[in-house]
């Protein structure tokens, strides 16, 4: 009798034995563990939200919804409003994405489709290395190297050429929304390019061959087959980048200029929620002040959740359209 036949025979001895075997090695325990892991995530997120909500009661009671549109942040007058920070956060994160997504996609496509074999690994490694640089180093480098040498001249040129558009109105500052967004863009670049490169690499070869065999050029294959095929994954990469851009604190604080004025120009200094919290947390000398800061954190938390939710919906719609479209 072969070993296998013998083993099967033993395994089939009793119902009880198969049941314990399942319990021992597999399904049940594994299931319980995964459910537990998922629960931990949900509970943690819920607990953070609840905590922020409870500890900002003073501020919420005093300002109500008006907190969201209040333009003043004045600890002396005990008057707090979140609008400049909400605006600054969204503005810098979105501008960073606008700059980083095309470049990141370009890098991903180059790494997965165009680069010669010997270049892929080292280049991919370099890009991922960008993610390993600490935030504060980006801030310092931005402040002393990147802004004076690179950002300021571009900002001047933008202002001179397009100054009539409110977005590029002067006067031009070194530390500004533009400077912060540019450095943010560099910081989210590795996330976007590494994740979307993996998305491209995961697309079956059969899809590429199908396109090429129909007489598509390489570019047509990329733009009309690979990008649509990977769209939901690419969106996922962008969302990861967005998450990082929204919450990034130190580098932005060092570069955005920390100014409350609600101007349209990206060449002016601005302020973000994360910067505000890190700047004033140690100075919050009375309860309302501290709780207003916590409410800022609550707003940041809510905005991040909301944007993620919207993005998930988007991904879900795209995925449904491309892969299972009307599989009804």
């Amino acid at each position: 009798m072969s070993v296998i036949v013998q083993a099967k025979k033993n395994a089939g001895v009793s119902r009880w034995k198969t049941l314990t075997r399942r319990l021992e090695h597999g399904d049940t325990i594994f299931r319980a563990l995964t459910i537990l892991a998922a629960l931990i995530v949900v509970v943690t997120v819920g607990a953070i939200g609840l905590q922020l909500w409870n500890t900002s009661a003073l501020s919420r009671d005093k300002f109500g919804w008006g907190f969201l549109i209040g333009q003043d942040w004045n600890p002396v007058a005990q008057n707090f409003g979140a609008l400049p920070f909400i605006y600054g956060t969204l503005q810098s994160a979105l501008l960073a994405l606008v700059l980083a997504v095309p470049v990141g996609l370009g890098i991903a496509i180059f790494l997965s489709e165009l680069a010669p074999d010997w270049l892929r690994q080292p280049l991919g490694f370099l890009v991922e290395l960008l993610a390993a640089v600490p935030s504060v180093v980006y801030g310092l480098w931005g402040l002393f190297v990147f802004v004076p040498i690179f950002v300021k001249p571009i900002a001047d040129a933008l202002n001179q050429g397009l100054g009539f558009i409110p977005l590029f109105q002067g006067p031009v500052f070194g530390p500004s929304r533009f400077a912060a967004s540019l450095v943010l863009a560099i910081m989210v670049l590795p996330t976007i390019s590494a994740v979307s490169r993996d998305v491209f690499l995961a697309i079956p070869r059969a899809q590429r061959e199908a396109a090429l065999a129909l007489g598509a050029t390489r570019w047509e294959m990329i733009s009309q087959v690979l990008v649509p095929y990977g769209l939901s994954g690419i969106l996922g990469a962008v969302i990861l980048g967005l998450g990082r851009a929204l919450g990034e604190t130190i580098a932005v604080t060092m570069l955005i200029g920390n100014n409350l004025d609600l101007t349209a120009s990206i060449l002016h200094p601005g302020y973000t929620m994360a910067s505000l919290i890190v700047n004033e947390f140690t100075e919050a000398t009375y309860p309302l002040y501290l709780q207003a800061l916590i409410e800022i954190a609550l707003v940041l938390f809510a905005i991040t959740l909301l944007l993620n939710l919207i993005a998930r919906l988007l991904i879900w719609r795209v995925a449904r359209r491309t892969t299972t479209e009307a599989r009804v």
Binding site: A206, A213, E220, T324, E325, A326
Partner: protein, 280 residues
């Protein structure tokens, strides 16, 4: 099963295959002294072969003997493999497809391909079929509609999908997906259609449909098909090329001729052994 018996079976299969008129056909593609290397490994050795115009040519042979590799040299899909190299030449209508001034994209538009596993795009049936024509700049709705109907009819799929052209190609059965891929290939009106075991993932009925389809296409297209199914080669093809591995495991062409001859009266002992199942 004795040799005689199996030969008789093939002869019967061939009886329905009336028009295998070898001498009168012209050459559509000519393969001369072709060698194909994956790195240092020679997968195809010294193959010369004339593919007749508007006929079905089958390539048979044991697994790994280089059939797919040879097929892929006919539309330069082999170029895509890193470190691969081609020696020798392939002519399409007397012009080399490997000449330096030749545009691969153009070659692939004239020599279409259907793969072993159905590979529709995750797009609608309509968009799958119009993918190639759109690349060629056909944009008018009416033109595209006409192409879709014509191609799907040619691929014997129209009646099954005409109500749901805008549903995903992924939602079709495997056999339907394969016919969709055939329709997609036909939509750019290639002169030659290469098929790499197009029916290997399909059940006998879907296989039969594809064979029937090939027979209809044969009036307009030159077809080269790789198959593992001897009956299929005997039933559906006009010419048969038998490949085998030599001592260095490189694929060589053992025998090429009208299918009837290869299956009833092979000149080589190797061929006879293979088709009677004593080998491979």
């Amino acid at each position: 099963m004795s040799t005689n018996q199996s030969l008789r079976i093939f002869t019967r299969a061939l009886a329905s295959n009336e028009t295998a008129d070898a001498p009168t056909t012209t050459v559509k593609m000519r393969v001369t002294n072709l060698n194909f290397y994956y790195g240092a490994f020679r997968a195809v050795a010294d193959v010369s072969l004339d593919v007749p115009d508007r006929r079905i040519t089958a390539i048979i042979g044991s697994s790994g003997c280089g059939k797919s590799t040879l097929l892929r040299t006919l539309n330069r899909m082999g170029d895509l493999v890193p470190n691969a190299r081609v020696e020798g030449d392939v002519l399409l209508d007397d012009e080399s497809i490997y000449a330096p001034n030749v545009d691969v994209v153009d070659v692939r538009r004239r020599v279409g391909m259907v793969f072993q596993r159905p590979n529709p795009f995750p797009k609608s049936i309509y968009d799958n079929v119009t993918f190639g024509p759109r690349l060629l700049g056909v944009n008018h709705r009416a033109d595209l509609d006409a192409i879709v109907e014509k191609s799907l009819r040619a691929a014997a799929l129209w009646d099954e999908v005409k109500e749901k052209l805008h549903e995903s190609g992924f939602a079709l059965s495997g056999g339907q997906q394969q016919r969709l891929c055939i329709a997609r290939a036909l939509a750019v009106e290639p002169e030659v259609v290469l098929m790499d075991e197009p029916a290997s993932a399909l059940d006998p009925i879907a296989t039969y449909k594809i064979e029937e389809l090939m027979h209809q296409l044969r009036d307009e297209y030159t077809i080269v098909i790789v198959t593992h199914n001897m009956q299929q080669a005997a039933r559906a093809s006009d010419f048969t090329a038998f490949m085998n591995m030599n001592a260095q495991r490189a694929g060589t062409l053992v025998e090429f001729g009208p299918t009837k001859e290869i299956f009833t009266n092979p000149h080589q002992k190797e061929t006879e052994d293979y088709i009677t199942g004593r080998f491979g």
